[in-house]
């Protein structure tokens, strides 16, 4: 048994999730998101963006004015707005008496795949109308594009004076944000962490154009069928926006205020391929999963649900499946699913959102499916891949969440159903 296993730690080192706030293309809170995942409801729609033209995307419909003024929206960024919405919703969900919370002891850690592309493209586009005279370049450009912007906007909105920053971790960022929050709580750098990930990526034409040039941008006559990880006819990524912020607390603090506990961090790992800019490395991915299991004092057969990272690309999906087959060969009870098939790839938010969509499984013991697998690619064969319909499981005790990104960053988070012992 690992000394790192969460149940071997004292309560002031055990980290629990006590609040969830999110916006996804198919839901603006956890209940809506979960209902959509169980109902097979996609959030992918037709979309148009400058230069690229007609394409597809996962677009969020949250009420940005719920927590911000029109002036806030004018001045800030979409990523900031997503973060503000999700953070406020998370705090509300956690049942915290927010005015009474010591704001200097709150830390904000948001994962981002990229930040600043949207704002820079917008400025250059506007500057074209002034013959590229930089006298017309906005003074808002720098505060909008500094890498900490999304987390910084949350501090301004919520009056948080503790540490804040973003974690740049490509598409592993959602998990990385959560991990960072947990680490900072364990170090007592903060008493409450607002941690997760955000994405505004559908507002930059560059990300669509780059995936298109790479041959990795999904197309389909029916937008809801475009994101199809593991399917033999998959043809790329659907870019999505979104955000998910967790309230994380040390267990003793959560118990002291009688907080609702969604689950406990049982293990995590981040490692690196060091092999390619974009192509994943299944060997390193498998090592990352194995390391997270080892740190949690767990074996593959302890895991009830694996939330896969698969994005719908030819090679990426097959390689993740290869890694998972290697690690989970000994487990016949572990179910595999994929939320990107519903919402597309929410980039910096993906890991955090996809984990959130599975958390209610601790209560209802249901594994949401992967949709759009009309014909399973043999290279993606996982015997317990849940497709089409949700699957009832005997009991869900552990969820393992994969989130991988470019430049070979891999992240794995394992969440355990909470029990005090």
């Amino acid at each position: 048994m690992s000394i790192h296993a969460s149940h071997n730690l004292p309560a002031n080192q055990r980290i629990v999730i006590t609040g969830v706030g999110l916006t996804a293309p198919n839901g603006n809170n956890l209940a809506e998101f979960r209902a959509a995942l169980l109902a097979g409801k996609s959030g992918v729609t037709d979309y148009e963006i400058r230069y690229v033209g007609k394409t597809l995307a996962g677009v969020c419909t949250f009420d940005a004015l719920r927590y911000q003024s029109k002036k806030d929206l004018r001045r800030g960024t979409r990523a900031g707005s997503v973060g503000i919405y999700a953070a406020n919703e998370a705090v509300k969900d956690a049942g915290l008496d927010w005015p009474a919370v010591t704001k200097s002891r709150v830390g904000i850690y948001l994962g981002v795949t990229e930040h600043g592309n949207v704002e820079t493209e917008n400025e250059i586009f506007a500057l074209k109308g002034y013959d590229y005279d930089t006298a017309y370049w906005s003074h808002h450009h720098n505060p909008r594009t500094v890498a900490n912007n999304p987390a910084g906007e949350v501090t301004l909105n919520m009056g948080v004076t503790g540490p804040h920053y973003t974690i740049g971790a490509a598409c592993a960022a959602g998990n990385a944000g959560l991990i960072q929050g947990a680490q900072m709580l364990r170090l007592r750098d903060c008493d409450l962490a607002l941690a997760g990930g955000v994405s505004e990526s559908i507002h930059t034409f560059g990300i669509f154009a780059s995936f298109k040039s790479q041959g990795a941008l999904a197309t389909h006559a029916d937008p809801t069928k475009a994101s199809r990880p593991f399917d033999v006819a998959r043809n790329g990524i659907v870019v999505a926006e979104g955000g998910c912020v967790y309230v994380l607390e040390r267990l003793d603090d959560a118990l002291a205020r009688n907080a609702k506990i969604y689950g406990e961090l049982a293990g995590y790992a981040i490692n690196t391929d060091a092999t390619d800019f974009v192509l994943p490395n299944p060997e390193r991915q498998a090592e990352c999963v194995a390391l997270a299991l080892e740190r949690g004092g767990l074996t593959p057969s302890d895991i009830d649900i694996v939330s896969t990272h698969a994005t719908g690309t030819g090679q990426g999906d097959a390689q993740e499946c290869q890694a998972l087959r290697n690690v989970f060969a000994s487990s016949d009870k572990t179910c595999f699913n994929n939320a990107k098939s519903f919402i597309g790839h929410a980039m910096g938010a993906a890991g955090a959102l996809e984990l959130a969509g599975n958390l209610p499984s601790f209560e209802d013991n249901i594994c949401h499916p992967t949709i759009n697998v009309d014909q399973l690619d043999p290279e993606c064969a996982l015997t317990t891949l849940v497709t089409v319909e949700p699957r009832r499981q005997k009991r869900v005790e552990y969820i393992l969440n994969n989130s991988f990104g470019m430049l070979g960053i891999n992240s794995v988070v394992i969440i355990k159903k909470f029990s005090q012992n």
């Binding site: 002036k71 004018r74 017309y136 906005s138 003074h139």
Partner: protein
């Protein structure tokens, strides 16, 4: 542009910069900052909008003239009186 038209133009810029504010009761001689939630970045927005909309370059030393509606109009009148309202 007439004085009234210049004033309308400033109010139009302000409505973009401060979209949550009710500008109907704005007192022309009273400083903007005493009536509206404007910070230094907002004042730079006024300068930028005048530059973008009318190609008016305001030197930094003259920013103090933009304190109130009436002082702004008085400052801009010599430059804008020969412009045609769009």
């Amino acid at each position: 542009m007439t004085t009234a038209e210049i004033s309308e133009e400033i109010l139009d810029i302000l409505s973009d910069i401060a979209p949550d504010e009710d500008l109907s009761g704005l007192v022309a001689d009273k400083p903007f900052r005493e009536q509206l939630e404007l910070d230094s970045m907002d004042f730079l927005d006024i300068v930028m909008e005048l530059r973008k909309r009318h190609r008016i370059q305001i030197p930094e030393a003259d920013y103090t003239h933009l304190a109130s509606l009436s002082s702004t109009v008085a400052y801009l009148e010599p430059t804008m009186k020969d412009m045609v309202k769009k």
